[in-house]
Symmetry: C2
Subunit: 419 residues, 2 copies
């Protein structure tokens, strides 16, 4: 007997009602949820303190405890985030296309909610509110399966959200799978007919586990082994700024650069100042030619010889692999071999090379003369994001509200029959 089945049922019936709400009603629900979170701030922070204490006692690394911890500033970010989603256009009900057939049928593609979705995520409790608000706006009910480390925080947040929805008289289309047991995840991944899509959000192992075990559609997100390739025609001053931005600004995120590919004719101009710039800031893992191009090592620079595995590693750290290549072809081939189809950039002033790169690199986002760090729902103009899809199916790249919708064909006739 399934333990989550009553939850699945209630999400399904709530979704049927939510799907029919207009934007005004959905935005009222979101605003009430945000107000209720604000009103419950004390109890949410108290619950979060319990999680934090438990995490420290269990020996969680301080960086991870940081991600888990809420404070009044982060609470404001959470409620601001919900208000931001309320301001977004309603993705539901839009006519995405329409035409008449020769016999006079009117065929329209109408955007409708995906249905019931589930997000399976790791410690940050702000994801709880983000995911709820996007799903709600898209007319989807959502089953939240957060990490056990954030259990008390998530319980307090979801309690507040549900209270806010009840106050607004709008459907209560959110549930938390809070047994703390791993069986919850297995049950969600097997919930054919109940859950229309699962979104894993977190580390590599989590995503792998979800993708490998799911019997329901999954949107694979995350891993970003991103590259920047620099041609001799690039503006080297700007190239240096872009590489520094893509590696040093926030190395722990999926759109940070991991490997720098340098055309051999660009290496003498680029690599010595780059070594200077990275000294004391990040380690370089260089192939033979790029090490030679650096010349005398600047004071404080950490350098290692690159190993094969460096090309395939998403360091998520202050480490940059560096490789010299002979052509745009070689760069493209390297990226299509080692990349994770996330974000890839070419820095060049050569039109043909830019075209080749953008057409032949197989990735969700291909950049010319910009930092890979821009791959983000907010930057792309989606207002908020569910994650970044690295698969080709259903959604690719930063996912906003549209990824939570599908279409329905509405066909209007006047008695037509098929000949």
């Amino acid at each position: 007997m399934s333990t989550l089945e009553p939850v699945f049922k209630s999400l399904k019936s709530a979704q049927a009602v939510l799907a029919l709400q207009d934007r005004v009603a959905k935005d009222r629900g979101l605003k009430n949820a945000a107000a209720a979170i604000e009103a419950a701030q004390e109890s949410i922070l108290a619950a979060n303190a319990l999680d934090e204490e438990r995490a420290r006692a269990a020996g969680m690394k301080e960086a991870l405890v940081d991600r888990l911890a809420l404070d009044p500033k982060k609470m404001r970010d959470i409620t601001d985030g919900i208000a931001q989603v309320a301001r977004l256009e309603d993705p539901v009900g839009r006519i995405k296309g329409g035409w008449r057939t020769p016999n006079g049928l009117l065929i329209e593609q109408v955007a409708v909610p995906m249905g019931t979705v589930s997000i399976i995520y790791e410690s940050r409790p702000n994801v709880t509110a983000d995911a709820f608000s996007l799903a709600y706006k898209a007319g989807c009910s959502i089953l939240l399966r957060g990490s056990s480390a954030a259990l008390e925080s998530n319980r307090a947040l979801v309690r507040a959200i549900k209270k806010g929805l009840a106050d607004g008289g709008v459907p209560d289309a959110v549930e938390l799978a809070d047994s703390g047991s791993r069986d919850d995840v297995d049950e969600i991944l097997a919930a054919r007919g109940w859950i229309d899509a699962a979104l894993p959000r977190g580390g590599k192992e989590l995503i792998r586990r979800v993708v490998d075990n799911a019997k329901i559609p999954v949107i694979e997100t995350g891993e970003g082994n991103c590259h920047i390739y620099v041609e001799p025609s690039a503006d080297m001053g700007r190239a240096l700024e872009i590489i520094a931005n893509a590696k040093l600004q926030r190395p722990g995120v999926c759109n940070a650069v991991e490997t720098l590919l340098v055309h051999r004719d660009a290496a003498p101009a680029l690599l010595p100042p780059l070594a200077q710039r990275f000294a004391g800031k990040a380690e370089l893992r260089c192939d033979k030619d790029s090490l030679a191009a650096i010349g005398p090592l600047p004071e404080g620079l950490a350098v290692k010889d690159a190993a094969e595995e460096d090309w395939e590693t998403e360091f998520l750290d202050y480490i940059l692999a560096v490789k010299t290549v002979a052509s745009v072809d070689e760069a493209i081939h390297h990226i299509n071999t080692y990349g994770t189809k996330h974000s890839e950039a070419i820095l060049t002033n050569d039109l043909r090379a830019a075209e080749e790169f953008c057409r032949r690199v197989d990735a969700a986002c291909v950049y010319t003369n910009a930092s890979t760090r821009f791959t983000d729902g907010g930057v792309f103009g989606f207002g908020a994001e569910l994650g970044i899809s690295t698969q080709k199916f259903h959604a690719r790249g930063p996912m906003g509200l549209e990824a939570l919708t599908t279409i329905k064909y509405r066909v209007t006739g006047s008695g037509q029959i098929r000949e």
Copy 2:
């Protein structure tokens, strides 16, 4: 050691080349393939005769042997179908959206091929050519896994297609999994990183098996337990024609109607002439109220009491279940309970009822005042179809070339870095 791995590899490298071909080159490939099939007609028909003979010897039902059998007319349909796909617009390279961010980045959504797809299908050899041509036009390589019953026919067809492609000097992006072993299917369904999507096309068991076992994305197609709901305000003469069309014209297809729902106030006007019309043509399985509304049974009418299981059955036969309902609400509830989210119709002149029905019925295609039989890629204007998706993920309803594409974000900057 995988037996299909060399095939996966060759499909992947062929796809990388095919993805970059322009429309002229792809259409040349298609035309050459069609010409080669025409030139090889004798040997294809001879191969088909072997399959037919083997099928009869194995006791295959004559209706299925019919589906398997090719003749000069069907061969012409095959080559005409390929020519038709060549005439379709290229779905690849279209800019599906584009905008500038506040810092001046140009973001474009460019349609690109899905990659390598696999179709797993039953006996009809014409699907071999249809699926190849759609995939080729969309820049996808394709692994065909037909039934063992059509093995010789498929081998001959694929041999001809490959010869045509070679003549045209365009990529040879098609392979047949022809070991005849079920292991092929298992290997395809586990081919993460090689096959981007699998499309099962055939009976219920085949689709179920694929969906249950796939570790790669699947587009679920097919099953259609379709309904027509008739309101008192409908034009009863037209309603009768639509119901007859949807049930009798071709009962073996997924968009044929299986259950008729009649508003109790429409039953007296609709059901007696319907019984007359269906007498000798199809069996009715009626609930108590609809049976009563028929009144004296017309000569030759086959009638049975409807059982619960009739509401959930896709008969694919000359059988129509009939149920009386009290309201559009009850009709919608029945459809959302028993339907397979394929094609559902309301016949009415009541605007509010039509709106309710179209919004609340959860199906790929919802019809007002037309036959469910129109759910078809050709009718919808897609030129050809891969199947009809009954899932919400990635593609819904009739699938044409667009279902074989995804997007890539192309971002063009002038040195932007993230603040």
